[in-house]
Symmetry: C2
Subunit: 347 residues, 2 copies
Amino acid sequence: MVLYLIGLGLADEQDITLKGLRAVQSCSKVYLESYTSILLVDDFKARMEALYGQPVTLAHRETVELEADDILRGAYEGNVAFLVVGDPLSATTHSDLILRARHYQAPGASEPTPVSVKIIHNASITTALGSSGLAGYNFGQTVSIPFWTDDWRPDSWLARIGENMNLGLHTLCLSDIKVREQSIEDMSRGVLRYQPPRYMLLPQLIAQLLAAAREHQVDFLDPERTLAVALCRMGADDSATRRGELVRAGTLADMLACTEPDEAQRRQDEQDDEAFEEAHPTVSEKEMDARREARRVQRAIAFWGEPLHSLVLVGRQLHPMEVEYGQSLALPGSRWAEVARDVYGVH
Amino acid sequence: MVLYLIGLGLADEQDITLKGLRAVQSCSKVYLESYTSILLVDDFKARMEALYGQPVTLAHRETVELEADDILRGAYEGNVAFLVVGDPLSATTHSDLILRARHYQAPGASEPTPVSVKIIHNASITTALGSSGLAGYNFGQTVSIPFWTDDWRPDSWLARIGENMNLGLHTLCLSDIKVREQSIEDMSRGVLRYQPPRYMLLPQLIAQLLAAAREHQVDFLDPERTLAVALCRMGADDSATRRGELVRAGTLADMLACTEPDEAQRRQDEQDDEAFEEAHPTVSEKEMDARREARRVQRAIAFWGEPLHSLVLVGRQLHPMEVEYGQSLALPGSRWAEVARDVYGVH
């Protein structure tokens, strides 16, 4: 029988292909991989079950790593679908499962009994980046920007952006996703409890880019001189609960300005915080930081909408057509065209 | 109303998404872009019409360039679908149509009447390359390898491959497609007649890579020391008339060896050619060259199957898991693992 790895595409249950749907409906067991990306609709599990007419089992990282043999035994006995948001092989996360299938030996079998694997590809953010209007040929390596913490600030991605920029190439920056993460406190106490999911939003992604650029004193990332295209919720339709796709172009500074509070708002925030501290005299600095962070998240979502957010950094190999397309996506008041002309030299 | 740009995905009419299908079925006019790629099944137009329940109009390059206003007027008055094999924006070929839609002014209107554009993404070769088992993060810029002729041998792609290789990155090489091309003779005589479609096959692609490497004396492409993964007909099912997807790994020399005639075959070919020349004493050298070329094409298809063929060149940033995955795809007798160890230094 067959282990199908099926891409779900970008946004909702309607993004599956007809071939993918037909394959799912031939399966006796359906897993949904739920740790590398998310669908952009609420209740997606229920929506998928309604569409496929069969139950869907959420597969967490530990399910796949620890129970791979169960999944493969299922695929040895009947068809099994393993659904992945986006393309099933955009990341190599699932290569291991495929290799195990190729080396599978059924319980009691005296020799290998490989399980057939069939991959049904679909759109992922690496295809959707065409919506930036930037030419696919001029993209270099893709980077992932992980959440920084107080004492862990990985930034090896900066060198990779620099390599792309040196060649004049665009860079797709993917923002971090943290699903079913445990806190260090819980882990050290042996408590199995998951943190709420966290998705990096554009302002934080850009802030980390610029902080790393300052720390390493590189010249290829500059708020006023680096152009970018924001890709938010690619493929999403407008709906009651979440906003549709949003694609906007500008300098990094233009993008940050969209969610920065003005002077009056800043004063209002401070007054709110002071009032809160007076009303709660035992509040810790950590709790106050969480309040400020929640406010930043709220402002980010108010402008850019719900996650997932990605960002394309624009390299110097820029064509006038790409500039014109970007202009049609430019943020109000953006310096897109000016910087394209004066810094990138495209007329 | 809406101009839908809808990706058809990789191989056949079943690769459209449910969202794409629903959009097509809402349209009063359906165009199929037919000059940047092909579906991998025969009679795809008839199959699509049967699936959608409505006629499909083939849009050639000149249709889109010259009749864009007709397409846009249709989309101003009702929904129009513009179908593209793969992802609609993998190349920027269609950016111009989108920009025109954003600036559209209906006949008789006193001000712009922009046409809404909605893009429905889908898998393309840039997503399907995950099937190589190589990590998406380690790919550099993509290159296209155009057919060489006697007096036109463009090779600017070699420098781009070199840039990727210097950074240790993998390179996706796309092979040339020539659809509805006119011969220089016909053009100079003013005869509107199209050459049969031509698709570059793997042996020719590899031969051009190696010829350019020799001419420019670069060291990053070597038949015995460069690893590659061939991606043929990605997403295609087996069918009566065409073969299914084929993914194989090896050195460039391993790949060339698969279609090179052995000594006995070579002698047989020469005897056939001599017999043909005796039977047709007026045959020109050009006709004899065409005969030899047809034989090479036949051998290429016998081993690698019908087009489309793409090739991934493997860079030095290679992970043991990628090597193991490649080993599961290796051509019989291939030196994949040996070269990964001795040249790429991966154990």
